[in-house]
Symmetry: D2
Subunit: 307 residues, 4 copies
């Protein structure tokens, strides 16, 4: 029998993963991320009727990193509709998130918008419409959460930018194939700043609720994307949202999700709710180790699954 007392559900989940707090490897290649205490754990659940349930460090902000790719894609989708796909595909990559191999084989066309190469193309799309794409993403998120205090961690952004050699390599590589329209430095700068947006589990769950709600932001009752687009973003999250472990995540958790190397994982329960978990230690694929454990248990207790 599935538990519908969400207060209790989150408590059970937290108790279940507590022995594992601190497991996994904190992302080490960006100094400020490497300094985050691996023992943090937070989780938030936001139902479509507007209730928020939290546990642990659910109100502490962390670097959303690749979770930002969901919001950037939503904006690009809104701007261009299906024309977004003229420059990138929507297939799982079968390779690590920062691989250049497939990019060479497929002539500079990224496999999907959630691997780094694809996210850079999305930023490039935004850069053709906004002077400061990272601010457009931040404003978009502020509006979704109705919270003007959400901001970019500038120190982190600068640190990422200094160490972005692999992403710069990717951007120049795509430019050599004609698949980048704006200057590489601008795209990289914007990308690093977008990744450095700091949010809490609670804020992320609220921000993404339009994806569970057929495109309508529940805090504002405004349409963010149309119902078909919301569904399609969820499909992309389900097949490509957790790097080269999307199949395993679908198998174990069974919900559309997007993870970030900051240790956050955002999940969508279409028609029902959104949730976000945060635990900084990562597994080999780059997803939060304790986060996935928590979500697996969460899906088991609630019985929620799209499959």
């Amino acid at each position: 029998v599935e538990d519908v007392n969400y207060e209790r559900v989150l408590k059970k989940v937290a108790a279940y993963v507590e022995p594992h707090f601190g497991s996994g490897q904190v992302a080490s290649y960006i100094p400020p991320l490497a300094e985050v205490d691996p023992r943090y754990f937070g989780m938030a659940l936001y139902t479509l009727d507007g209730q928020l349930f939290v546990t642990g460090d659910a109100h502490k902000r962390f670097s959303i990193q690749s979770i930002s790719k969901v919001f950037a894609l939503s904006i690009a989708f809104n701007l261009l509709g299906d024309d977004v796909w003229s420059r990138l595909d929507r297939e799982p990559s079968g390779t690590p998130f920062n691989s250049l191999v497939q990019l060479e084989v497929e002539h500079g066309r990224p496999r999907n918008p959630f691997i780094n190469a694809g996210a850079l193309v999305v930023v490039d799309i935004l850069a053709s419409h906004f002077a400061h794409p990272e601010l457009a993403v931040m404003q978009f998120i502020r509006r979704l959460v109705a919270n003007e205090s959400i901001d970019i961690d500038l120190k982190l952004a600068r640190s990422e930018q200094e160490l972005a050699h692999r992403n710069i390599a990717m951007a120049h590589f795509m430019k050599s194939f004609g698949n980048l329209q704006n200057p590489v430095e601008e795209v990289i700068k914007s990308y690093c700043h977008q990744c450095a947006i700091a949010m809490s589990c609670a804020e992320l769950a609220v921000a993404a609720s339009f994806l569970a709600n057929r495109g309508i932001c529940s805090t504002q009752s405004t349409r963010i994307v149309n119902a078909g687009q919301a569904k399609r973003i969820n499909a992309l999250m389900a097949t490509c949202g957790t790097y080269d472990a999307a199949g395993d995540f679908a198998y174990r958790v069974g919900l559309p999700a997007k993870s970030g190397v900051g240790g956050g994982i955002l999940v969508v329960v279409p028609g029902v709710a959104t949730a976000c978990v945060w635990a900084p230690g990562l597994d080999k694929a780059g997803n939060s180790l304790v986060g996935i454990m928590a979500l697996e248990q969460f899906a088991k207790i609630t019985g929620w699954s799209i499959y």
Copy 2:
């Protein structure tokens, strides 16, 4: 507004795709498959309350080919549970269904049970439990459909076996890594026979209904797999069921599915129904071209999607 008169839904779908009948390329590498008239089109919908709706050639049998992998996996899953995953993964491959590249990189461990290499491992698992795995699969299907006339097209099976060089290469390659326990010839023979099972859209929709029904076969009211396993097979179909186009299929159709090069595509609407479409012409990824068009339209009209 979504249409719930399924009779009419199928008629609308058939009318929508009729101008495209015969599009795509019929699988050419197996002579008997190459001779199939590309203009066939059939579709069947089987709801969990036991109603069957059909259109076109929905009662004409065709070669189920890779759709058999769903049934073989269900049996293996039932036998071994999660131990199935000791020898193969559950990730989208990012490469064509018959690629050996990833197999070399990952030391003979297939990416998932729905690409050829993974399906051969599943047959190998069955071959350690059954004298004739292909008969076990056939019997399993006969029981699911409650129809003893379902059979293997022996002429086709033999033809496939003669031309199975690439699959034989794969099997020996995995054997060189120690990931095949039974003799290659036996595994290949069984695999080719399993692929040559002939069924109609109607029969396939009925046979797979346990996947929409939390593991319970509706014709027999017997448990085939447990609810968690049914959900997980659906997850695998959603992420890996349509070769290297699973992301695009999720985007366009939004339902778990398994296709075969005979032109069939089986889809699951969890908790609601199963459906099967058949049109022999394939697209570049090896999925039925008209079949996907039909399913895209079908999902649009019914509003059914897991996302």
Copy 3:
């Protein structure tokens, strides 16, 4: 100043490598090869004026393995001339000798006749001209050495055949691309027997002297291949003869060579001599570790280099 007293040269070389006798890893995947004492060391030098110089175990026979590919190619070259290249290339592979990756990328066309895939195509060419290609190779060698006692180690050949899964995979893979004309089993059987020919360093040096002598066998004064073909076989040995370490070998030793996993390395000094070294322990690339050390020292002392 270079030393021209070859008796003394070989003594110096043997003394130089003696502290390293037994280094490297004996090929472990074929049981009879794995049992060979790794401390053997032999070397032979055969000058074009017909003098033979030896040191250590230069008269003890070992399994020539891939060195046989030079002789098989010479026969195929004689039969078909440049038509040999209609089915394979002559480029270094940049990958291990038993890789299937490049074979997939290049549609079943092997990179060169000295990697396994290419050697299988050469055997296939011979199999279209001889009932027993392996006997043709053996007879060819017997004639070159003028020694009828040279033979195939049948026990080893059978053992290799039983464990040839990777080579069988390659052969079926090429057959799937239409690049193998004879039955896979025949080609594999012949290949395994050809590799199991047993010869000593002295015999190999004598057998290959036609390559240093513009195609003329010095023991028989008969033309084996024409001068251009001899030169071209040497070019292939220089660029592709030592697996994925041909560049390093050219750098360190500077002479055309072909190695085998039995621990033998055959080298050609065009216009001057041939030499063969044997030490069973292999380096990571699959070449004799002590053998390369010996040849590096040998080239240094004699000053012989083609560059």
Copy 4:
């Protein structure tokens, strides 16, 4: 019988290739290169006794492009000796000259100094010793030819720099693996300028004569590299000097060589001479089409071959 009247040899070669003047594709990705008349043909032969023989446009300067890599390596070799190899390998790549695939597989370590990635590492080595590595290369060449008028085509260099996205990608990629010490922009700028040095066939043949002469520059009688290093540079040219066609070049021509996308090919006949041919049209591997035809004929007529 081989012809030793070199005047006549070059005439024969020019007559042989004349019907093919203009064949091949001029490098199109750099505008100034794309404008070069494809019908140019020149060839020069410089013997170790100091005689120069020329035909056609042998005194017209063209962009040496990748031929500059031989001179840059010679300087680096002189500076660091075998320590050069701490950061790159000396193996044929088996992939196109500008591929990033192997660089990813081998963690940022280039396969050899003559593919772009490896050449960038060599420039990086020079950049740690010289304020302006490209000027060091130019001065080195001026000294070898005893001609102060040799210069960099600055317009071409700037054009290359603007379009160097793929090389910039490679440089940042290697930097991400820690295999680039100087700023990417500096390395790229220097690389593009080095490639844009303009020389004639006659000047290139003279400049490289130290490679045929055991390291001693014949115009100056000064030691440029030691005899072992000269031999080793020749070995690298023979195995890696003509991109992914080094095996074919060794087979057809049989001499160490380095080509450039400007259409030049420099060859070394150790102990005898150096030669250079120029014809702007390239084959699919990026080597001068008519240039290789000319060298094949040249090698045939002279009988020169290292094999």
